[in-house]
Amino acid sequence: MSFINYSSREINCKLVYYGPGLCGKTTNLQFIYAKTSPEAKGKMISLATETERTLFFDFLPLSLGEIRGFKTRFHLYTVPGQVFYDASRKLILKGVDGVVFVADSQIERMEANIESLENLRWNLQDQGYNLDKLPYVVQYNKRDLPNIAPLEELRELLNPTKVPDFEACATTGIGVFETLKAVAKAVLTELKKGS
C-alpha cells in the first residue's frame, strides 16, 4: 500500500515483478540498478540461494523525482519464481501498488508463464486484490533468443485484458525502463484517482 508522509514530503509505492522461474525478474532489477545514478537509488538486496536463485525477494529502492514538492520513491521487489516458494510469493504481494508480469518468451516456457499468471491472480485475490483493478503491465522478456513464441500468441495467452505490454531483453536492457515507467505511471495515476 502506498505511504504518503506529509512531514518528510514523500510518496512511497511498492512495485512487484512477478513471473515464472528464470524469466528475468532479478535481471530487470539488476539492469535498473546498474543504469540508475547513485543519488536516485539505494542498495539492491538479493535474498538468494547459493545457486543465485531468488529465495525470498530482491529489493531495490528508487527515487523517480518530485511531484509538487513530494519525492516519489518506488520500492521494487521481485518474487521467487520457483513453484514451491508460493508462500513467500504471497507475502511479497502484501501492500503491492503495481505489478509487472515478466513472461519468458521461449516456446517451451509457455506453460510455466500461464501457470505463473494464474498463480499471480490467485495470490492477489488471497491478499484482497483484483489483478484487473490493479496497476499492471506485462513484459515479454528474452526476445533476443531464437526459440521464442510470436508476439501475437504471447499477447493472446498472457494479456487477454490488453494492459500495456512491452517486448524486452533484460540482459541488454531493451524494454526494461519502458516497463518500469509504464507501471510507475499507472500507480501514480491510480493513486490520484483514489483521492
Binding site: 505511504f3 506529509y6 539505494g42 538486496i45 529489493f59 493513486l191 483514489g194
Partner: protein, 159 residues
Amino acid sequence: MSGPDVMFPEEQQQIALVCQRLHRDANAKAVLLIGRDGQPIAEAGEVGEIDVTSLSSLTAGNVAATGGISKILREKDFTSQFHEGERTHVHITLVGGRAILVVLFDERSSLGLVRLRVKKASDEMAKAFDQVAKKAASNQGPSILSEITDADIDNLFND
C-alpha cells in the same frame, strides 16, 4: 483496496519524540519505526552508519514471514521477535497492526529493560496512529493527491 497509508507532521513529531525517549530510556543504540510495508517512518539514536531503507524492507519481510508462520501454526500474530547477536541485539514489535518498532541494543541495556520500555512507547505510538487514521478518514489532514495533475505525472517521466 483501501486508500494509502499516511503520516501527518503533527503525529510524525509526536512519534519522533517517543522514539527519542525510548532510545534514551531503554539505553538503546537505535530505534526505528517502520511502516508495515517496509517504509521508514521515524528513527532515533545511532543510525548514521545503518542503511535504514534496506533494514526497513528486510525487517518488514521478516515480520511478514513470521506472520506467515503463525498462520500455518494457527497461532495469533507473534507480536514480538528477538534476535541475539554478538554485539548488537534486535527487538522487533508490531505497533497496533500498523507499524513495526525496531530497537537495536547492546550490552549497555538488556532484553528485559527494552521490553519494558517498548510496551509504553508502542502504546503511545498506537495512539498517534489512531489520530492519523481519524484525520485521514475525516479529510482533516492535507491532501497532495487531489493537487496532482496528469501533467505532473507525465512530467515525472519525461526524459
